[in-house]
């Protein structure tokens, strides 16, 4: 990790690049700094804190935030007295570890790398654009990022939202959308794709804090097109947040408040007094975009983002240089994470031959025998002030003093900081500890770190027990510090009791079958298979249809003009000739057994006499089952030959018929979507409508095209096409749910009746053709979900393991999802997601083995009576009945066991125990809880 680093030059070619990097000095030796913070306390100079968006002051010598990585302070040379004026140097003697070094000089390095991934993120909207909305001129106009710091509990105001002008709490709050986006005035014609979401999030956060705040979001279109994003908007509306479709003209001071001037769709001008204005600022291209392009030789688009092709979204003009994240185009966190994984997969494919050569495997000392004597260490954490502002941490630490087995105890400011971890390791070795209790935060986030530390200290990782005195004490009992302290003591005492009985549990690994099963042979499935093949792994594609290709074949071109049919043909040919990919057509998955690394699936192919079943052994499974067009009722679809879907229209437009682009066309967006038959937005239909409208205008410039929409969701660079369509005369008229367009037949003519919200009147048209934007439904997810025990969302799409951070993994290990089976999305996003799914799926295949969580059930064969109750109850088929001698006994398949404990709690003879949670341990824990209660009772009586 090279921080404070500038990228200077890139020479060579794919597989053999030399990158020149300049490291700017931190003036602090990273190895010596313990992040104690003393230097910041003594530094006399103020420094505007960029991490808090300038809303707070820090010192030139500082760390951005407590959890920062690397956990080392640094000196900002711009404001340091010594570096600017050759004076001061107070910090040097203050630092106990002699980490401050003003002699550090910039250093240049040449890195030899095989590939380069560019993820420089995005830049900020210029002050000039913000000034149009009164920013700088009035203190109560803030940007959304400043507002983010204001609402943050760890921010400069501890989450309290106040007006900067006079410190009052704002009663009326306005969000202005599209600041620096969809605005040719600042040359940002694109939509930034994230602002609608964060505005809703920030509004919800404020509303939760103070339900009386009146919040209005002024918008052009609400673009919550992502998976389940519309639901958040509905939640916001239900909580009383107002959405007003309007263009804000300006923000001016009015008495001691602000006044918003805006014009609505029907041309009215309105004024609204508000206390505070939040500008939903867009994402600009990174400030050094031109420099990066110069150095790497990649092309930029007209907005200075990396130029990319729809069908190969992450590669650039220079081979071996890959882009991902917001630099590729404005996007949210899940999209960035997906692209990042995809980019990693692509780079891995390019450097397949060198895999594993440069990495160093971490080695651990041999596990010590823990002997019979129990030697417990208890470590209580302040978590800065997160715990210690409520809980008396010293009292909790003192309370363990005389407990049986406790030989060492202490407290620390941040138990998880790099230096504290090193101290923990040394303490374990020095005091020969063999059980550890950490009273701190959530084991969900931090247990792996402490387990790792135990391993480093030569202990079995299962010998640590965490007590969550942050969430369970200081957070939930913030108003009752004494009770919170008592509860912390109780919890720590119980953990000590439990840890006494803890025994080392063996870590198990199981080998991985290096092959993937890919369900679905469309663009997603084929891309995933080719990405895996590029890394040297075999896969089997199951396609339910007779041929590969899926639904992409129904498209003619993409909005940006890429020819899909040609690409698809090329892709199918590549898949067919790749020796690492086996294709089974007319095939379906009928059964799957096993676990990550070792799945055995039964696949049925053919029908009638040709029908046969065979078993495929594979280590991972990728679901790329796709989706199909929804056909809604109520719009005369399939009843009138003048009503078609956008797909059907596209096909017609690509044909040769003379009247293929009729003189008048009405398009209806969200037909059957967003609360109609389907409860979600399908993300692609707005682009599809714009694409077809442009095509109609191309063929027949005189054609009248009217698009009836709710929100035009031409996010990202597709906004350019939307603008082009308007310039070419396509008419866009919004409708709301109370005035849904109606399609009916009268005699031989087809009518569309709708409320024209611009002219404010009922309108009845008789177009030549009605095109419906109908949305996408997933294919066969219900059946697969049951087969795989993988959950679905309410809308029948596969639910990912974590919506932000693990967007292509399913909650079940070894299963991945991409394409329409995850949620509706356009081709470029499907391709990137398929590459990401393949990259993630390749991880266990590369490793060759997976380790099984040591906490599994264990059957004591002597006590087991072989009743089989456990095997029948296990939801994961992880218990099998085996013959031991002449008797039937239960046996756990460790790799399948999820440690749910159902078997153990139902066993009539208590023969099953859970590793780390034995009956004895739990009983000891409960008894420990009673100990003091009894004492207290005695004291009272």
């Amino acid at each position: 990790m090279l921080t404070n680093a500038d990228f200077l030059a890139l020479a060579g070619k794919q597989g053999d690049f030399t990158a020149r990097i300049r490291l700017r000095p931190r003036y602090i030796d990273t190895d010596s700094c313990t992040a104690c913070g003393l230097c910041t306390q003594y530094c006399p100079r103020h420094h505007v804190d960029p991490y808090n968006e300038g809303l707070a002051l820090t010192r030139p010598i500082h760390i951005d935030y407590a959890q920062a990585v690397p956990a080392t302070y640094y000196i900002d040379p711009e404001s340091c007295l010594y570096l600017q004026h050759d004076t001061c140097q107070i910090c040097v003697p203050v630092c106990q570890s002699h980490a401050i070094n003003f002699n550090q000089q910039p250093e240049e390095l040449d890195l030899k790398v095989g590939a380069v991934i560019l993820t420089p993120g995005f830049g900020r909207i210029s002050g000039k654009t913000l000034a149009k909305f009164g920013y700088e001129a009035h203190p109560d106009v803030v940007t959304s990022i400043e507002f983010e710091r204001m609402t943050s509990a760890s921010g400069p105001f501890q989450g309290e939202v106040k007006c900067f002008s006079d410190g009052r709490h704002p009663h009326r709050l306005a969000f202005i959308q599209c600041v620096g986006s969809r605005d040719l005035g600042c040359d940002n014609g694109y939509c930034s794709s994230v602002c609608c979401m964060y505005a809703i999030k920030e509004a919800l956060v404020v509303k939760e804090h103070d339900p009386d705040v009146e919040i209005t979001i002024y918008y052009m279109d609400i673009r919550t097109q992502g998976k389940d994003f519309d639901k958040a908007r509905e939640r916001a509306e239900a909580m009383g947040i107002k959405f007003v479709r309007a263009k804000v003209a300006g923000v001016t001071p009015w008495k001691n408040r602000l006044q918003l001037t805006y014009s609505t769709l029907d041309g009215r001008h309105e004024f609204e007094p508000v206390d505070m204005v939040v500008l939903s600022v867009g994402l600009e291209s990174p400030r050094d975009a031109a420099g990066i392009a110069d150095i790497t030789g990649i092309e930029l688009n007209r907005y200075d983002f990396a130029k990319s092709d729809t069908l190969s979204p992450l590669t650039t003009r220079r081979a071996g240089v890959i882009v991902a994240g917001a630099f590729q185009g404005p996007k949210d966190i899940p999209e960035s994470v997906t692209q990042a994984s995809a980019a990693a997969g692509i780079a891995a494919g390019l450097l397949k031959k060198q895999r594993g050569q440069g990495i160093v495997h971490k080695s651990y000392p041999r596990e010590k025998d823990i002997g019979d004597e129990v030697r417990i260490g208890v470590f209580t954490c302040h978590c800065g002030i997160n715990i210690s502002s409520v809980v008396d941490v010293h009292a909790v630490d003192d309370s363990v003093e005389d407990m049986e087995g406790v030989v060492y105890h202490t407290d620390s400011l941040y138990s998880c900081s790099q230096d504290a971890i090193e101290t923990l390791k040394q303490t374990i070795i020095e005091h020969n500890l063999n059980r550890v209790v950490i009273a701190a935060c959530s084991p969900r986030t931090h247990e792996p770190l402490f387990q790792e530390t135990l391993k480093d200290a030569g202990l079995n990782p299962c010998l640590v027990e965490m007590v969550n005195i942050r969430n369970q004490c200081s957070w939930v009992h913030a108003a009752e510090p004494e009770a919170a302290t008592d509860k912390s003591k109780d919890l720590v005492r119980m953990a000590v009791a439990k840890v006494r009985g803890m025994q080392p549990l063996p870590e198990q690994t199981v080998p991985v079958m290096p092959k993937a099963l890919i369900v679905g042979g469309g663009i997603a499935g084929m891309t995933a298979a080719l990405t895996l093949a590029g890394q040297g792994f075999d896969s089997v594609i199951l396609e339910q249809g007779a041929t590969l290709g899926g639904h992409l074949g129904l498209l003619n071109h993409t909005l940006s003009g890429s020819e899909t049919a040609k690409y698809l043909k090329h892709l199918v040919a590549q898949v067919k000739k790749d020796g690492k990919i086996e294709v089974l057509t007319s095939a379906r998955l009928v059964q799957i057994a096993g676990f990550i690394g070792n799945f055995a699936s039964v696949v049925a192919t053919g029908t009638g006499e040709a029908a046969k079943e065979h078993t495929v052994d594979h280590g991972v499974i990728i679901l790329a089952t796709g989706g199909h067009e929804h056909r809604p009722d109520g719009y005369l679809l399939d009843k009138s030959n003048k009503v078609v879907t956008q797909l059907e229209l596209e096909k017609r437009l690509a044909g040769k018929a003379r009247n293929r682009a009729p003189g008048s066309v009405v398009m209806i967006q969200c037909a059957g979507s967003r609360g109609d038959d389907l409860n979600y937005c399908s993300k692609v239909c707005c682009n599809h409508a714009v694409k077809n409208a442009l095509q109609i205008k191309e063929i027949n410039p005189d054609a009248q095209v009217i698009v009836l929409y709710r929100d035009m969701r031409t996010y990202g660079f597709a906004e350019d096409a939307y603008r082009e369509a308007r310039l070419k005369g396509v008419v866009f008229i919004p409708y709301d749910l109370d005035h849904k367009p109606e399609v009916y037949e009268k005699g031989r003519s087809l009518h569309v009746k709708f409320f024209d919200s611009i002219l404010r009147e009922e309108t009845d048209l008789t177009p030549d053709l009605v095109a419906l934007s109908v949305g996408i439904v997933p294919d066969g997810t219900d059946g697969l979900s049951k087969l795989l025990k993988a959950p679905l969302t309410d809308d029948r799409f596969f639910l990912e393991a974590h919506v932000k951070l693990r967007p292509v993994e399913l909650p079940v290990d070894g299963m991945y999802v991409c394409g329409l089976a995850h949620t509706p999305k356009p081709v470029d996003e499907t391709i990137a997601q398929a590459q990401a799914a393949a990259a993630k799926a390749a991880i266990p295949l590369v490793k060759g083995s997976v380790s099984v969580d040591p906490i599994v059930s264990h059957v004591d064969q002597d006590t087991c009576i072989g009743c089989g109750l456990c095997a029948s109850l296990c939801p994961f088929a992880a218990i099998e009945m085996v013959k031991v001698g002449k008797k039937r006994k239960a046996h756990t398949i460790a790799a399948s066991c999820k440690a749910c404990g159902i078997c153990s709690s139902h066993c009539p003879t208590f023969a099953i125990s859970m590793g780390g949670f034995t009956n004895e341990q739990i009983t000891a824990q409960i008894e420990a809880f009673g100990e003091v209660s009894e004492k207290e009772t005695t004291e009272v009586s």
């Binding site: 990790m1 090279l2 404070n4 680093a5 500038d6 990228f7 990097i21 931190r26 760390i63 951005d64 935030y65 920062a68 640094y74 250093e107 240049e108 390095l109 040449d110 890195l111 030899k112 790398v113 590939a115 380069v116 991934i117 560019l118 993820t119 420089p120 993120g121 990022i145 983010e148 710091r149 609402t151 943050s152 999030k201 956060v205 389940d228 994003f229 639901k231 050094d288 994240g325 630099f327 966190i333 960035s336 994470v337 692209q339 994984s341 980019a343 990693a344 780079a347 891995a348 450097l351 060198q354 895999r355 594993g356 440069g358 990495i359 919506v803 951070l805 993630k840 991880i843 490793k847």
Partner: protein
């Protein structure tokens, strides 16, 4: 000429230590490659580290 570094076969440079760069770096190491993560500021994490919560679940973003 800059100071040379030991040549590690199969290494990749990731420019930018925001959420995308971090994820790419983590995946690459898991896939068996050595990564140089090059970040212009003094800490990694990018803009996501400044966020309070994330949409739509309002999870903590740090």
């Amino acid at each position: 000429m800059g100071k040379g570094m030991e040549h590690r076969a199969g290494s990749v440079m990731v420019l930018g230590g925001g959420i995308a760069g971090l994820q790419a770096a983590l995946d690459l190491t898991e896939l068996g490659y050595y990564v140089y993560l090059v970040e212009k500021s003094a800490v990694v994490g990018g803009v996501m580290a400044q966020l309070d919560k994330t949409f739509p679940t309002n999870d903590c973003s740090l």
